[in-house]
């Protein structure tokens, strides 16, 4: 018999986008904590070693390390560019389009924490990328959504809308990289496991 996936028959998957802290259950066996090598621990730096998601990804430690460092640079490097709340907004918008409830929960929550605009963020989750937003958030959401389409629909009009909303080219690079990164993250999160309700629900 070949290896078998892990199923979670008792899990009731969340059926709506939420800002709550969800859990995530893997479909493949994460690397056991006691089996982690020094290389693995280096690759897990800045991540929770008890996270089943990162202990699954650490099965390719060099790629996980590169991915984590890229993630942190895109979302937290404040040397100019897009304000951090809008980077999280772009991540949440890409996740909303791809349908990743788990990723959308993490990054909508981060967008709310950084911006204080819980209701605006919730409208993105509830009504999707066509939700009513101000000019700046509309420009970011539409650019992230266009870049998330396959093939990409990102066009000069999106650049023009971002500029008209007051964003410079450095900020536009951040919009591009934030949305692009979540086309990486969403596909891993969606395809290697499933979201589960918050603990205590």
């Amino acid at each position: 018999m070949t290896e078998q996936v892990i199923r979670h028959p008792d899990n009731v998957e969340p059926d709506a986008f939420t800002q709550a802290q969800l859990e995530w259950e893997p479909w493949l066996e994460p690397k056991p904590i006691e089996a982690l090598t020094q290389t693995d621990r280096e690759a897990l730096k800045g991540r929770r070693a008890d996270s089943p998601y990162f202990r699954l990804l650490v099965r390719d430690p060099i790629v996980l390390g590169a991915r984590t460092r890229a993630d942190i640079d895109i979302f937290t490097n404040e040397d100019g560019g897009l304000p951090r709340p809008e980077r999280e907004l772009a991540a949440a918008a890409a996740s909303r389009v791809n349908g990743c409830l788990y990723c959308a929960s993490v990054h909508s929550r981060a967008a709310t924490e950084l911006s204080g605009r819980r209701d605006d963020v919730q409208r993105l989750l509830d009504d999707g990328i066509d939700s009513e937003q101000d000019e700046r958030w509309t420009a970011v959401i539409e650019a992230a959504a266009a870049l998330t389409a396959t093939p990409s629909r990102f066009a000069p009009a999106h650049v023009a809308a971002l500029k008209a909303a007051g964003f410079d080219d450095q900020a536009i690079v951040d919009v591009i990289q934030s949305a692009a990164f979540f086309n990486w993250a969403n596909r891993l999160m969606l395809s290697l496991g499933e979201p589960a309700p918050p603990v205590g629900d």
Binding site: T2, A16, D79, N98, T148, Q170, A180
Partner: protein, 195 residues
């Protein structure tokens, strides 16, 4: 040091986009490092061979109609396994669609469910590339166009076709990373032309 994104967008040292990218030096370096470890010079070829990686890379970029990147992976695959490349080129038209689409868990989001192509490798492709790579190409199609349809059965199909758990993590990263790579290229190309 060569950088594939710079090369395909057409960014030269000192260009406006070079200056912008230089402000995010770690993502620039680690995008290239991911590409090298996943495709150009992987440290472990047992979990996925060089030709399998190039084939999956070409398949993602071609399905996504990312012309410059597809051309790059096409050349790489041509140098590693021209017969596989021919089989993929033949299969592309029937596999290509637009996304993302798929279904949510039954509930309030079901109104957003959208059906689309559920591509399976034709018998001719199975015989040209083998069942193991064919299974990976089907999974790549799922991740490319309808990632929210992912389910444990899809991973079981990979295990049954001979992929190990480590191998599945690596090819999942490969597919997902190229979706990042092709969008950075698409976005920067538009930004370059807009300036």
């Amino acid at each position: 040091m060569s950088d594939l994104i710079d090369e395909l967008v057409g960014i030269a040292p000192g260009d406006h986009l070079d200056t912008l990218r230089a402000k995010r030096p770690i993502v620039r370096r680690d995008a290239q490092a991911s590409y090298e470890e996943l495709i150009v010079s992987p440290s472990d070829l047992d979990r996925a061979s060089a030709a399998e990686r190039a084939a999956i890379g070409y398949w993602v970029a071609a399905l996504s109609q990312a012309a410059a990147l597809a051309g790059h992976y096409r050349s790489l695959l041509a140098s590693l396994d021209p017969a596989v490349l021919d089989a993929l080129v033949t299969a592309i038209p029937e596999a290509t669609t637009t996304g993302p689409y798929g279904a949510y868990p039954p509930g309030p989001l079901s109104v957003e469910d959208e059906d689309g192509l559920h591509w399976t490798a034709p018998a001719s492709l199975h015989s040209a590339v083998g069942d193991r790579l064919a299974a990976a190409l089907e999974h790549t199609h799922l991740l490319t166009f309808r990632p929210r349809d992912s389910n444990p059965k899809a991973l079981q199909a990979l295990l049954d076709a001979g992929w190990t758990t480590d191998g599945i993590v690596t090819i999942s990263q490969l597919v997902a990373f190229i979706h990042f790579q092709l969008r950075v290229i698409a976005g920067l190309t538009v930004l370059k032309e807009a300036n």
